[in-house]
Subunit: 388 residues, 2 copies
Amino acid sequence: MNVAVVGGGATKMGEHWTQSLRDLSTEAGAKALQDAGIEGKDIEALFIGTMSSGRFIGQEHLGALAVDEAGLTPIPATRCEGACASGSLAFRKAYLAIRSGEYDIVMAAGGEKMTDIKGPEAISALMGAGDQEWESSAGLTFSGLYAMMARAYMKRYGLTREELALVPIKNHFHGLKNPLAQFQFPVTVKQVMESALIADPLRLLDCSPITDGAAAVILVSDRVAKRFKNPMWILGSGQASDTLALHNRKSLTEIPSSRIAAEKAYAQAGVSPGKIDVAEVHDCFSIEEILAYEDLGFAERGKGKDLLVNKETYVGGRLPVNTDGGLKLGHPVGATGIKQIIEIMRQLRGDAYTQVKGARIGLAHNIGGSGATALVHIFGTEPGGRHG
Amino acid sequence: MNVAVVGGGATKMGEHWTQSLRDLSTEAGAKALQDAGIEGKDIEALFIGTMSSGRFIGQEHLGALAVDEAGLTPIPATRCEGACASGSLAFRKAYLAIRSGEYDIVMAAGGEKMTDIKGPEAISALMGAGDQEWESSAGLTFSGLYAMMARAYMKRYGLTREELALVPIKNHFHGLKNPLAQFQFPVTVKQVMESALIADPLRLLDCSPITDGAAAVILVSDRVAKRFKNPMWILGSGQASDTLALHNRKSLTEIPSSRIAAEKAYAQAGVSPGKIDVAEVHDCFSIEEILAYEDLGFAERGKGKDLLVNKETYVGGRLPVNTDGGLKLGHPVGATGIKQIIEIMRQLRGDAYTQVKGARIGLAHNIGGSGATALVHIFGTEPGGRHG
């Protein structure tokens, strides 16, 4: 059975001091319904991705919270958690639930309210995505873990610090027209190089921010898809896992779960990396966008930076990446995977803020922690791929 | 497609001071594999239910933790959370994933390590299952919420405090032969009535304990089920939601989500309540077992206590309930739903610690919070029901 995405919506990414997570998730859900042209009563089930709401706001049971606030009870509501990949995890479970034949119209959402606790507490909560016994308890943070990956990559492949800065420069440039972005200003190599050192070699402008936000999309079976305008079809969906702790990996210069999830998604879709017109990749820290280029087959090992140097991943280039600004311009962890899919949806139907001309096949890549969870989804303007 | 449960295993329920959650989940998983007669490499995906590991042990990303520790990477691993219903939520998602055609052999697990933080902190973490903005922040606890339900029920239907004590008395009696139970001793009406007052009218022996534990089961598609001995078939699966806060309900003397989930499961299974031979119901507090009798159609409204007074829900009675001792003898919140399903599996294949003679159809009922999430599963020794 083919499954399509027929609408989506998100809140502004940022610091929402007057809205709680229930407000944000309801706003995103309402926007998604409006975008799809349906009503809440049409939704048969909800899947929501949230990473650490227990620590951020003292609230678990997010599925119930979301359907309660939206007036959608008694439909089944399920929270899925896979750290920063929680959003796309919820999306994939929604996709599988439709394929099972159980539902025809499902909402997949994600949300996180991260600014209600102090910065150091938020960093501690986020380390719940890593290995508590072997990483967090030793004082490691995600900027530290990705800094080690950046150092290893720079040494192995000769990437310079200035070249690494090309990631946030591109993504800030792409986000200039995105009204939902947390930050809307361009940055230069000089600004990146002079921003505060967070974990050598990563600086402030290499790091995704602490963000409040929510996002939601509507998935439908092919039985009902004809009712909707511009459905975006799921061509492939891949999910993979890896060791929770970075030190148990064989290499610091790749994320194997990204590669495995991508291979599954490409195989299911019957699409090769060269066919991708636009992609959203998980740029939680600058180095990860370059690793993603290579893990997803967009570039050979060690050559990822060439896509930036040659502006191939800019809008107008061969394969525009993070056309909404990526995680750099907002990373409400549970919502991120859904936010990415909304950008691909906008690109494929032609109403993106920064449009890639003629985009017909798109890819979204979302990982949790330092890659212990990875999901890759491939979408097209026409149905395709093998779906059971 | 029909789906069967072909093995399961659990840790002892209790205070595990020398084992962390990764140890407990791996022990349960290994027992489930051994019980099914398969190896880790046969598992294609993992779904794990955990409620509040972020607050209990500073660890989110439980799917990755579990497959990493068990050496099962890179298979897809998904944490599902629906408060105390997290285990059966993971089970249902595993069932739907198999029905989707994506997998043939899947592990559904649950685990919680609750004793690493102090009692009041654990109570606070558990209130993450309620409404943080309207219940937890006002000082409500789950014993308080269920006490209000008990009071309302006693007033409306004339249930006495002594009759309420029949729930823990039965469940402690059932658990006497269960080596995995957290407590193995009988209790009397006098002991219940003299135990510490927690939230009037509920006393200590009315409350499920704080428990460390994990449980896992193996689900398989009908394509591969013939390889296994004694498959237990899923006949029906229902899930429903309700308001997160108790004060938004129309009545305090029922849990509508339990009723709705049960109606779905009965309809799918083509089975009426009278056909159930054995059941596990969510007795987090004594009153909830009586509500469950009525919500699940085992008794008319206000008549639930009769099943206890007449010993109908004892082993040997018409419909034995909580034959392993129920939540009263161990409630590691994320694991509970799976633990219940293991008991039904043992009953249907005839090797339960306290066996119900000739049991052929069983039911498991698991709720989150005060009923904002509810799941009901119906199982049989022969395949049946409608599964897409």
